[in-house]
């Protein structure tokens, strides 16, 4: 942008200098300071060397600064004389700027502002291509091969999300963290605030227990103690030495389990010799920094080449050749992007409607003030002076409205932030900051100019001294009526589009939530239980602990049944394994179909009310039976493997199960594992004890008679009492989990609903304004008609005809617009077509009703016109 705005002769030299200065500052004084300096430098350079310099100068000649300030004062004075008009205009602008500012505050850090790392555009995720053609995480050996062979990547870091318990006798806390390769921070370009990053030696199997803390954790739990480096903290019962603390500016965007993002960092500690570092152990997230000056496509081409070499060298370890190099920002905002863009579009429509309304108000006022303008022109004011004055008046209005709007945004933003899906990254950066204020100010100025210039054109055209002095300011030229009618009809059209969109989203959400997830979510309480630390080093102690928790919870009055499971459906937590049938061997085991793996203790099927279609349930005797190794498949998985659900007795290979072959003892109904709108119904249920390892965390699922707070607390207390050193977190009802899985749509619906309501009010006010104005102007005509025998019905029809004519035109145009626009909502819709006729008709009826209501007040006023008064006044 800067380059384009600079005059061509200076461009290269100045931009080059700016870049050089930036690089120096970034090295010496840090990235943030350098960025501020850069913008300041750029602004000054623009002021001196703008390509628009000549244009700017001509503007300044016509309107010198001092006279403009005088105009501003004059504008403020005039507006004080018309408080009703000023109040309505300011409020309208506030109602548009407020939501716009709030939405921009959310959109900016996610979609526009670069991620808070130096040269963040160079950062990308590396994914392998899975059997379904989609990106999948990467295995450690593959990652090492990429590190060795890729010449176009400056560095590649590996991360893996983790959770650990901060072992504190009084206040144990479950924390989200990242296991990172030693070069993680240097790949991102982040420096520690205290201490240092990990060394290569620390990132090895059985390496020293070291840890880096986030600024937030350091402040919250360690009192921002500047002497913390070198001291030990206890995590999961193990002592770890703090080697560094990250700066407050570090904002984690990569952790997949997310409350506040990752709060601690420990070394990954992998080596190719470890069994879980194999090629097919695809569970690592790879972050790459692409070399400066290298195009991403070129880097990707090199990765694809490496992938092809690996596939031919290890044909049984890869399902498909090819890799993905996805820009970091694109990847971390992927989930939120469709909803945010839709909401941004919606708020733009609200803004347009509001601007239409304010311009309309201004036009009406210009008509009334035509006498004033005619006199000014007669006294020698040029068109430019007049324009300047009107823009100044608008600026006063827009500034007042804009300030009110920013205050509104500031007040509502916390509410909005709470509605964002909780996996949204960069939540902390969602606030009304300098960037937002600059953008809002620019917007307010544009609005003010539009608001001022449109009426100014009108004022100049109509302000003939002659007519004014003779006609005493009476008016009625058709051109201004046409403009105002056009504006109101457009507002209605825009309101129609918003209303249709909001309705579509609302119906999508209700259809989505009406879907049977395959289990009964009502009266289910879920809690995350942990078993970390030296007491739970052996798997048997973990399962025994969970059995004890289950027994305790089952004894709580009001509890019907309970089970533990390693991941919860629809929670966003996914644990997938390739399943092979014994009687259908595959040449390449990597092509085995994926199923969501659930490791179970207790009566999961009874507790969640998942239907059992064939065979029997898992029971207590199955735990530890590694000979038969009983498992239950979902009907979907059974059909994928054998094309039928009559599969009891068949055997399958389950990676990580202790037995090589597991026996199918039952077939369960399909459940929605990942999302309500996705049908990946392959699932396999395995007794926890028959797995080759135990995770430290599991989800306790409890069927209760009700979900009263007292009962939930009783369940929590019973579970906690078994081992008070283990924290219990994530207490949620299953209903809440299901609703949260539709979080993105919920947010979009909420905002579209608010915006559509706002649009209706504004459009209604627009119609009202135009009709009220026209009734006032036509007082004499209406009086005359009444005097000549027009009935009240005739008079009402006169007003209604005009109002409903406008409404019909607006609704018609809005329908066309809605059909064109709602295509962009498609990814947010579910089970309903963007052109759903019922929705379109319903929206039209609502708008028509609003139009009728808006017509009634001016119509009543027209009825009350006393013919005698009206004629005498003229």
């Amino acid at each position: 942008m800067l380059e384009r705005a600079l005059a061509s002769d200076a461009r290269d030299v100045i931009v080059g200098d700016l870049a050089e200065r930036f690089a120096q500052d970034a090295a010496v004084r840090g990235f943030r300071a350098a960025r501020w300096r850069f913008w300041w430098e750029a602004l000054v350079a623009l002021r001196h060397f703008s390509a628009f310099g000549t244009w700017r100068n001509s503007l300044l000649r016509e309107a010198s600064m001092s006279s403009f300030i005088a105009d501003l004062r004059h504008g403020a004075r005039i507006l004080r004389l018309a408080p009703g008009f000023a109040a309505v205009a300011i409020l309208t602008i506030a109602l548009a700027i407020g939501p716009t500012t709030a939405v921009f505050s959310i959109v900016d850090p996610l979609l526009i502002e670069p991620l808070p790392y130096p040269h963040a555009d160079r950062l990308a995720f590396v994914f392998e291509r899975g059997q379904d053609g989609r990106p999948t995480p990467i295995g450690y050996q593959t990652l090492q091969d990429i590190r060795d062979r890729a010449t176009l990547l400056a560095s590649v870091a590996a991360i893996s999300s983790t959770q650990s318990t901060l072992s504190d006798p009084t206040q144990p806390e479950r924390l989200d963290g990242l296991r990172v390769s030693w070069n993680y921070l240097s790949t991102l370009g982040v420096h520690t605030m205290l201490g240092r990053a990990f060394t290569r030696e620390e990132d090895a199997p059985n390496g020293p227990g070291v840890i880096i803390l986030s600024h937030g954790l350091w402040t919250r739990r360690f009192g921002a103690d500047s002497g913390i480096v070198g001291r030990a903290v206890r995590m999961d019962g193990r002592l770890r030495t703090v080697v560094g603390v990250l700066p407050a500016s570090y904002d984690d965007v990569v952790a997949t389990t997310r409350n506040a993002g990752a709060e601690f960092f420990v070394p990954l500690g992998y080596a190719v010799t470890l069994p879980w570092a194999c090629r097919t152990c695809r569970h690592l997230t790879a972050i790459a920094r692409i070399r400066d000056g290298v195009d991403r496509q070129r880097a990707l081409a090199e990765l694809n080449q490496i992938s092809a070499q690996l596939v031919s060298a290890y044909p049984k370890e890869y399902a498909a050749a090819g890799m993905f190099l996805t820009p970091m920002q694109e990847e971390v905002t992927r989930a939120a992007r469709p909803a945010l863009l839709a909401v941004l579009g919606a708020v733009a429509l609200v803004l347009l409607i509001a601007v239409g309304n304010v311009v309309n108000l201004q036009l009406a006022r210009t008509v009334r003030r035509s006498g004033e303008f005619a006199v000014r022109i007669a006294l020698g004011a040029g068109a430019g002076r007049l324009r300047q004055q009107l823009v100044a008046e608008s600026l006063v209005l827009a500034a007042a409205g804009g300030s009110l709007g920013v205050a509104l945004a500031w007040l509502t933003l916390p509410v909005l932030r709470a509605q964002l899906p909780h996996e949204t990254p960069r939540m902390a950066a969602v606030r009304v900051d300098v960037r937002v204020l600059v953008a809002t100010t620019a917007l307010v100025v544009v609005v003010a100019i539009v608001m001022g210039l449109v009426p100014a054109r009108m004022a100049r055209r109509r302000a003939s001294l002659d007519g004014t002095l003779r006609g005493g300011g009476r008016v009625g030229q058709p051109s201004h009526h046409r403009t105002r009618a056009l504006l109101v009809a457009s507002e209605l059209a825009l309101a129609m589009m918003l209303l249709v969109s909001a309705t579509l989203l609302g119906r999508s959400l209700s259809r989505l939530l009406a879907i049977d997830p395959g289990f009964e979510a009502a009266n289910l309480v879920t809690l995350q239980i942990e078993s970390a630390g030296p007491n739970y080093a052996r798997m048997a102690s973990v399962t025994a602990y969970r059995e004890r928790v289950l027994d305790a919870v089952r004894d709580v009055p009001g509890v019907v049944d309970a089970a533990t499971v390693t991941t919860l459906p629809l929670s966003g937590d996914i644990d997938r394994y390739g399943i092979t049938a014994q009687d259908r061997p595959l040449a390449n085991p990597e092509l085995a179909p994926y199923a969501n793996g659930y490791r179970v203790i207790g009566d999961l099927f009874l507790t969640m009310r998942i239907r059992l279609l064939e065979g029997r349930d898992l029971d207590r005797r199955d735990q530890g039976d590694t000979v038969a190794s009983p498992v239950i498949l979902s009907a979907g998985l059974a059909r994928t493997l054998w094309g039928t659900t009559h599969v009891v007795g068949k055997r399958v290979h389950v990676p990580n199960a202790r037995a090589n072959w597991s026996t199918v003892v039952g077939v369960a109904g399909d459940i929605h594992n990942r999302a309500l709108d996705a049908s990946d119904e392959n699932a396999i249920y395995v007794p926890e004890s028959n797995w080759s390892f135990a995770n430290s965390g599991a989800v306790l699922v409890v069927r209760t008679r009700n979900t009263s707070a007292a009962l939930i607390q009783a369940v929590r207390d019973a579970a906690h009492a078994i081992d008070p050193s283990q924290p219990i977190v994530g207490v949620r009802t299953m209903d809440a989990v299901v609703h949260a899985s539709a979080g993105q749509r919920r947010l979009a619906l909420l905002l579209f609903g608010v915006f559509a309501g706002l649009a209706l009010v504004l459009a209604g006010a627009g119609i009202y304004g135009v009709l009220a104005g026209s009734v006032a102007e036509r007082t004499r005509e209406i009086g005359l008609r009444s005097a000549l025998g027009a009935t009240p019905a005739n008079v009402i029809r006169l007003v209604l005809n005009r109002g409903l004519g406008l409404a019909a035109a607006g609704i018609g145009a809005g329908m066309v617009g809605a059909v064109g626009l709602t295509r962009f909502l498609k990814s947010l819709l579910f089970g309903i077509a963007p052109t759903d006729p019922g929705t379109l008709a319903g929206a039209a009826v609502v708008l028509l009703a609003v139009a009728v209501i808006a017509c009634l007040i001016p119509a009543r006023r027209a009825l009350r016109i006393d013919p005698v008064e009206a004629l005498r006044a003229s």
Binding site: D12, V13, V15, G16, D17, L46, R47, F49
Partner: protein
């Protein structure tokens, strides 16, 4: 003969001091370290282009370098007229300051 503004003097002196390698960033740094004035590049270029229009400095386009993202530099040097004007300007200042008991003697 032209008279020089304070900013123009500072910029001219900086170009003279640096010699062959005088361009935007180096001039900015020279002024920052000697005169302790934090000028923006835009201000410096504005001044340089005015000086160039008066014929007091000359400039030529240099080679592009990597740390500038492959963009060229513009190198500046003081012309003979520039030296004369600067000299006149400085000695005028010196004469004005001479004899005043405020520690303002010309260097």
């Amino acid at each position: 003969m032209d008279t020089l503004g304070d900013l123009e003097q500072v910029v001219l002196l900086a170009v003279l001091r640096i010699g062959r390698d005088a361009y935007g960033v180096s001039i900015q740094q020279e002024i920052a370290s000697r005169a302790r004035r934090d000028l923006t590049l835009g201000t410096i270029y504005k001044s340089l282009s005015r000086l160039e229009a008066k014929g007091l400095v000359a400039s030529r386009l240099g080679e592009p370098t990597a740390e500038r993202g492959g963009r060229a530099k513009r190198h500046y040097s003081v012309s003979a007229a520039g030296r004369r004007t600067l000299q006149a300007s400085l000695s005028a200042l010196g004469r004005m300051a001479a004899g005043l008991d405020v520690g303002l003697e010309a260097p």
